[in-house]
């Protein structure tokens, strides 16, 4: 069920008795701007910490515990040309609780808490509390730096920077940039906060045993005004480069991480979108895939070797963990797999298997309240609503020729290797 609450503010309700919880998601969607990414990430962190009524994280945490361990969080993500601040809250459906007693149902209490977080943050002097602000800025700073402790993440981040040199919105992580962060003040993010409330597209969604009346009533008193949302494309389009960007860093790692990025200029609204999804699943997106089979199972060169496809940025990426001295062999095997698919050498057996696997994954996602909620953003950004039956039909119709046509559009753009030096392990 879809409702327009205000101009630019929508509510989606997925009523079901399948779950013992009620899930809520609120997305604030803004155009992706390099200057705003970091401030929005910090704002999310500060809003998550406290509110006027719950002025410390302990006070807020106790309120969440009182609501039977409501899980609550604010995260940020990038999707194509959009930046999203996402609030999520999951509450137990009290019909499954012992001795719940006479009080408002947990869904209504959870919505009231989200309202508090969004519209009554801790602003003692009309600005964010200085101690909280400074501490959370520091925490975000260390969190961003700690991400690099994960060498797979680090290799992927460096690959993105290489691929999108000179295109900061795409090169930057959704958490922003440490140098920008250092210079942000409480006043800066107060402006970001006011801008978000006034101008972002707002998409609220609820999944669980809740009817339309309750869902609408719970959001009716949120002070959100009408807003004009420019209908700009969510797709990031970019020109292919003649030269493959090559990067390589030495770091004290035992296992080398070899990552590759390609352009695959097929977006979510393209007729070939489904074929691109199937191509990725066959190439490296599943354990049945060509990369997994040939790099890992046949050549024993890696523990992981997989690919990912982003239909909002038109990119395909490959991740592997290997011995540094095998880099050339692995690169050759990956290139050979792509070339084979481009020549139409995809077996009917593998095609059928990856289609079955994609269908399985799509149906399985219906069993996860979180995935039911997060899946809605795609529809909201693309205005493409595809019922399951239509989706299944499209999937079933994909042929080897379709996959071949998609594979021929794949162009290598960047390769990056994080390794432990010539000697490898230290």
């Amino acid at each position: 069920m879809h409702f327009r609450i205000k101009d630019g503010v929508t509510l989606d309700l997925l009523p079901t008795k399948q779950f013992k919880t009620i899930g809520i998601k609120v997305d604030f969607v803004a155009p992706l701007q390099a200057t705003a990414i970091t401030a929005r990430a910090l704002l999310a962190q500060v809003l998550e910490t406290s509110t006027a009524a719950y002025p410390t994280q302990t006070a807020l945490a106790r309120e969440l515990s009182r609501l039977y361990g409501a899980s609550f969080g604010i995260s940020v993500l990038k999707l194509g040309t959009k930046h999203v601040i996402r609030l999520t809250c999951s509450l137990v459906d009290e019909q499954y609780l012992d001795n719940f007693g006479p009080q408002q149902p947990l869904f209504e209490q959870g919505m009231a808490l989200l309202k508090e977080v969004l519209f009554a943050p801790l602003l003692p002097q009309g600005n964010f509390d200085p101690a909280t602000f400074t501490q959370q800025r520091q925490n975000l700073l260390t969190a961003i730096k700690s991400l690099d402790d994960d060498k797979q993440y680090l290799a992927n981040r460096r690959l993105q920077e290489l691929l999108f040199t000179g295109q900061p919105t795409q090169a930057m992580s959704a958490l922003g940039d440490v140098h920008v962060l250092n210079d942000l003040s409480a006043t800066d993010i107060l402006g970001t906060y006011q801008d978000m409330l006034a101008n972002d597209a707002v998409h609220v969604a609820v999944v669980g045993d809740v009817n339309a009346e309750r869902a609408q009533a719970a959001i009716a008193d949120w002070p959100l005004a009408d807003r004009t949302i420019a209908d700009s494309t969510p797709y990031y389009r970019w020109s292919v480069r003649d030269q493959v960007q090559v990067g390589d860093d030495e770091a004290p790692v035992v296992q080398a991480k070899l990552n590759l990025a390609y352009q695959l200029p097929i977006y979510r609204d393209d007729d070939d979108f489904m074929a691109a999804v199937v191509f990725n699943a066959a190439f490296g997106g599943t354990p049945l895939s060509l990369l997994f089979t040939n790099v890992r199972e046949k050549a024993s060169l890696a523990y992981y070797a997989s690919s990912g496809y982003n239909p909002f940025t038109g990119t395909l990426s490959v991740q592997t963990g290997i011995q540094a001295e095998n880099q050339q062999r692995v690169t050759t095997i990956i290139a050979a797999q792509l070339a084979a698919v481009q020549r139409g050498e995809l077996s009917e057996k593998l095609l059928a298997e990856v289609k079955a696997s994609l269908l399985n994954a799509r149906l399985a996602a219906l069993d996860s309240p979180q995935r039911r909620l997060t899946g809605l953003l795609n529809t909201q950004l693309t205005h493409l609503h595809e019922p399951l039956a239509a989706w299944q039909e499209k999937l079933a119709a994909i042929t080897v020729d379709d996959v071949t046509r998609v594979a021929q559009k794949v162009t290598l753009q960047a390769t990056y290797c994080l390794h432990g030096g010539v000697q490898g392990a230290q």
């Binding site: 079901t16 008795k17 399948q18 779950f19 013992k20 919880t21 410390t56 994280q57 302990t58 945490a61 106790r62 969440l64 515990s65 009182r66 609501l67 039977y68 361990g69 899980s71 137990v92 499954y96 609780l97 012992d98 501490q135 925490n139 260390t142 969190a143 730096k145 700690s146 402790d149 770091a251 004290p252 790692v253 035992v254 296992q255 599943t286 354990p287 049945l288 890992r296 024993s300 060169l301 890696a302 523990y303 963990g321 290997i322 011995q323 298997e353 289609k355 079955a356 696997s357 994609l358 269908l359 399985n360 994954a361 149906l363 399985a364 219906l366 069993d367 996860s368 309240p369 392990a425």
Partner: protein
């Protein structure tokens, strides 16, 4: 006989039986779900590296990492790989090895019967040769090295190694490059024949299913196979470190942005057997919640002093023959981190008494966590610990939690804390 246990308030039912060959089967139908998740587990893990092979009389010490190696190799058959069989139906399959268990699993939204048969057949039909065993050494070698670069993993296992310096737990579950190099096909058969007897295994199936029909499929599949007579398994108890042999503190250097501290506590008290063990486990976990979770006064104090931040977390686990806690986080003040947590634990009796008003709160939170896990077929299946807690399921755990009193918590906390030993493992940049 298929026994049936209903949990009325939750609207859930657990069906359970033991087949003639000893295989225990649990089923939990989930109305409205599209997916079915099945997991088959043997009570055998990385800890069990010395035992009397079935049919022999002398105990044998096997190379470290053998349970995990066996898990990898079980998928590969003479002319096919079990992964591919699941793949035909689009099911996703996987496996994992822990200290005391090895599990094989799949999730599917169609062809449950076929997928169940694939699972039972590949787990119950080993095929190991010198050639296939040698090929796997490269893959597992890469897996070991991947974890070498994972600071969180290194921090966790570094801590465990200090808590269990003489026990097999101090070695990585996957073994070492050297130890796996010594594994032979005969070793794998010896381990397989000893621990993969149906009487040492269980199968739990959760999700879209009809219990009677599903059991018929499983029974028919098992009836078509012959197994050796059931014999008791003789594991050689591993050497045990004395409390005074626990290494108090170690540091190590890795490429991390900030120091990582892992404070471990090894229990030397006797965990009660059966369901009482689960009650003990729930109670000690709640004790840690009261002392350290984000509703505690300690948390705010340490957070505001920048001793801990959002990376702080803790975990208590009970396994066959071992129970321990980890409190860990990234911090610029690793000494203060260890000092403060040690002080809180030393003062636990007073602190817990003072935190009594928060008891209902942390209990509610734990209840919410369990109810949330019941939403997921994996959540239900993975919470089942088989013989360890006398076949208790997540629904039993919820009942135990709801009935737990503050006095129960204090008693378990006293038992654990009075005899536990502490270690601190710090990784510096």
């Amino acid at each position: 006989m298929l026994s049936k246990k209903k949990y009325d308030r939750l609207g859930e039912t657990v069906y359970q039986t033991t087949l003639a060959n000893g295989l225990k089967v649990l089923m939990v139908p989930k109305a409205g779900f599209h997916k079915t998740f099945a997991i088959m587990t043997t009570d055998y893990g990385a800890m069990d590296n010395e035992f009397v092979p079935r049919g022999q009389h002398q105990s044998v010490r096997f190379p470290d990492g053998i349970a995990h190696f066996l898990e990898h190799k079980l998928f590969e058959k003479k002319d096919h790989d079990a992964f591919d069989l699941f793949g035909k139906y689009g099911a996703s399959a996987n496996a994992f090895t822990g200290f005391t268990q090895t599990s094989y699993l799949f999730a599917t939204t169609s062809h449950l019967k076929e997928n169940l048969e694939i699972l039972l057949d590949f787990v119950q039909d080993p095929y190991f040769t010198a050639e296939t065993v040698n090929k796997e050494k490269g893959i597992i070698g890469q897996e070991i090295q991947m974890y070498d670069d994972d600071p969180g993993w290194q921090s966790y296992f570094g801590m465990i190694g200090q808590l269990y310096p003489k026990e097999p737990l101090h070695i990585d579950i996957a073994g070492t490059i050297d130890s796996i190099d010594r594994i032979t096909a005969d070793d794998l058969y010896a381990a397989y024949n000893t621990f993969y007897h149906p009487s040492n295994m269980n199968l739990i199936v959760v999700g879209q299913l009809d219990p009677e029909e599903t059991l018929d499929w499983i029974t028919a599949n098992q009836a078509g196979k012959t197994f050796a007579p059931n014999e008791p398994i003789t594991r050689v108890p591993s050497p045990q470190a004395q409390p005074n042999e626990i290494v108090a503190a170690t540091t190590r250097q890795l490429t991390v942005s900030r120091p990582k501290v892992s404070l471990g506590l090894r229990g030397f008290d006797q965990v009660p057997t059966g369901r009482a063990g689960l009650r003990y486990s729930v109670a000690v976990s709640l004790m840690f919640d009261l002392l350290f979770n984000d509703t505690s006064d300690n948390y705010l104090r340490l957070y505001d002093a920048n001793v801990i931040d959002d990376s702080f977390g803790y975990d208590f686990q009970v396994q066959r023959g071992a129970h321990f806690a980890q409190l860990a986080g990234d911090t610029d003040q690793p000494e203060a981190f260890a000092r403060e947590i040690t002080a809180i634990l030393a003062d636990a009796a007073t602190q817990l008494a003072a935190a009594k008003p928060q008891f209902e709160l942390v209990k509610r939170e734990a209840v919410g966590r369990i109810v949330g896990a019941i939403n997921s077929v994996e959540g239900i299946a993975n919470q089942y610990d088989g013989p360890l807690f006398d076949d208790a399921t997540i629904f039993d755990e919820l009942t135990i939690l709801e009935q737990l009193s503050f006095e129960d918590l204090l008693a378990a906390a006293r038992d654990f804390l009075a005899q536990c030993r502490q270690t601190v493992y710090t990784i510096f940049p």
